[in-house]
């Protein structure tokens, strides 16, 4: 464990130790300040769930939570996340049991190629917590930051509705 840095200490531009709390565990990574949270997760922590689609904040494939809010990891600097709580798709299941949203995506076939799916799911769980899943139109509007090239949108919305409405109960694939 590395002590947190002094408030105004200048770090970098070379590699520095950065302490990150990811999915409840503390990690120390040695990275340059310019490294994005996405690259840090994927290349330095072997957490490859968050995907690199556009790398410019346009596609949502890299959606993770910082302090429980959904953000795009590609436009977030890893070093700026020190002292914050990061949650990725790998941290969603509990004790090996999938989150209801993960189950709903499976049972509703809410993906084709699957590349955008981790971002879709992280966004969808946050969407419900935010209370923006009242109608299909509201779901579409508040999920618009997650692009699905395969256009699985109807099934994604169905999966979100399922979880919102508790269809089949938690853990059930039946409808």
């Amino acid at each position: 464990m590395v002590a947190s840095h002094l408030p105004d200490a200048v770090q970098g531009p070379g590699p520095v130790d950065v302490v990150l709390n990811v999915n409840g565990a503390t990690h120390v990574v040695r990275i340059e300040p310019r490294v994005s949270l996405l690259d840090c997760l994927r290349d330095h922590m072997n957490l490859t769930g968050a995907k690199k689609g556009c790398n410019q904040g346009a596609c949502g494939a890299c959606t993770v939570w910082v302090d429980k809010r959904r953000v795009v990891a590609c436009l977030t600097l890893a070093i700026a996340c020190e002292g914050r709580e990061i949650t990725t798709i790998e941290g969603l299941a509990e004790n090996g049991i999938l989150h209801p949203m993960q189950k709903a995506f499976l049972s509703e076939d809410a993906f084709q190629c699957g590349y955008c799916t981790p971002g879709q799911i992280m966004s969808a769980v946050a969407l419900l917590a935010e209370g923006h899943a009242g109608s299909d139109a509201e779901i579409a509007e508040w999920m618009s930051g997650n692009i699905c090239r395969c256009a699985a949108y109807p099934n994604i919305r169905t999966a979100i509705r399922d979880v919102r409405d508790g269809v089949g109960g938690v853990g059930s694939a039946a409808r």
Binding site: P7, P33, S144
Partner: protein, 331 residues
């Protein structure tokens, strides 16, 4: 992205002193523009001073009824604040219709005022752009300029200002509060955004080290009857081709008070003062709305691909006014 150094600050004075002292330093707020610009080499900061911990994110009503939005308040938090939704729906709507939920969770209100244009020639380091490299020329003039501005342009720059919420704030006469080592400055929003003229690289009056601390919206009862109408190529997560921020009060079917500003068609958030003047005292009819809208666009300058915006902006204004008028004599 080129290498950068990083530090995090906890108070406004330290933030300002730190950036002011280092010509290569820049503030890092939500990062949604800054990180993007650094990555495509459109900006070249060598040091980022992270201001995300600054305690200037409150959204509150002042004793005089004005709404004060801390510069580090996030777009989504402002959009969803009950007092914003109730008193200034135009602000809330403009925010929700911008960007995506993720970006709105990150992006700060102060940063939104400073976001850079989406002009592809500005962002393409290979292209000529007077905004990025003064004197190098403007490839947009003869290039793909469908999304570019028709109001407030110059022969040096036709880049459209990208913000939605700045349009709403312009309609409402917001004030941008700025702090620097010399003290505090308050800019009326219409003076904050500069026309490109011969210096398109200068988009606002801020100097290096100046920090936006708050945005203040004056108490304005007409704000309760307001809306933001955004017209674009797709229904969500897209920049405006034309948008209108509008607030309206009628008395006996006559326009007693009106605020109107345009987005997507101008080089800065565009207060439609001509249309406002033309509307005051006129009956709230489609004809007078259309006349005022035409008046506003009368000296618009189109390029080969964006001529449609002149008509689209008028229709957008008319529909916004008609929608508010149909809600009745609300004040």
């Amino acid at each position: 992205m080129r290498p950068v150094s990083y530090s995090r600050v906890r108070d406004v004075a330290t933030a300002i002193a730190t950036v002011t002292a280092d010509a290569g330093a820049a503030y890092l707020a939500g990062g949604t523009t800054k990180v993007d610009m650094l990555r495509i080499y459109a900006e070249a900061s060598q040091r980022l001073v992270d201001i995300n911990d600054l305690p200037i994110d409150h959204i509150e009503v002042q004793p005089d009824g004005a709404l004060r939005i801390g510069a580090m308040a996030r777009m989504n938090d402002v959009a969803m604040a009950p007092l914003v939704m109730e008193r200034f729906p135009v602000i809330s709507e403009a925010l929700v219709l911008g960007a995506s939920a993720q970006l709105r969770n990150m992006a700060s209100m102060g940063g939104n005022m400073l976001q850079r244009t989406r002009c592809t020639y500005f962002r393409d380091a290979e292209a000529s752009c007077n905004k990025r490299e003064p004197g190098s020329g403007c490839d947009a003039l003869t290039g793909v300029n469908r999304g570019h501005a028709v109001l407030g342009t110059s022969k040096h720059c036709i880049a459209t200002h990208p913000s939605d919420v700045a349009v709403a704030l312009t309609a409402l006469d917001a004030v941008i509060h700025v702090q620097n080592t010399g003290g505090h400055h308050a800019y009326p929003i219409d003076d904050f955004f500069l026309l490109p003229g011969g210096t398109p690289q200068r988009e606002h009056p801020l100097n290096h080290g100046d920090l936006i601390t708050a945005i203040e919206v004056p108490a304005l009862p007409v704000g309760r009857n307001s809306l933001y109408l955004k017209v674009r190529d797709r229904e969500s997560y897209e920049f405006a081709l034309a948008s209108a921020a509008c607030a309206l009060r009628l008395e006996n079917g006559v326009v007693a008070e009106v605020r109107l500003a345009l987005g997507g068609v101008a080089t800065k958030p565009w207060r439609a003062r001509r249309a406002e003047r033309a509307l005051l005292g006129q009956p709230a009819t489609r004809e007078s709305f259309a006349r005022a809208a035409a008046e506003e666009m009368s000296d618009a300058v189109a390029r080969p691909m964006n001529e449609f915006k002149i008509e689209l902006a008028q229709r957008t204004m008319v529909r916004a006014l008609e929608t508010l008028a149909a809600r009745g004599d609300v004040s």
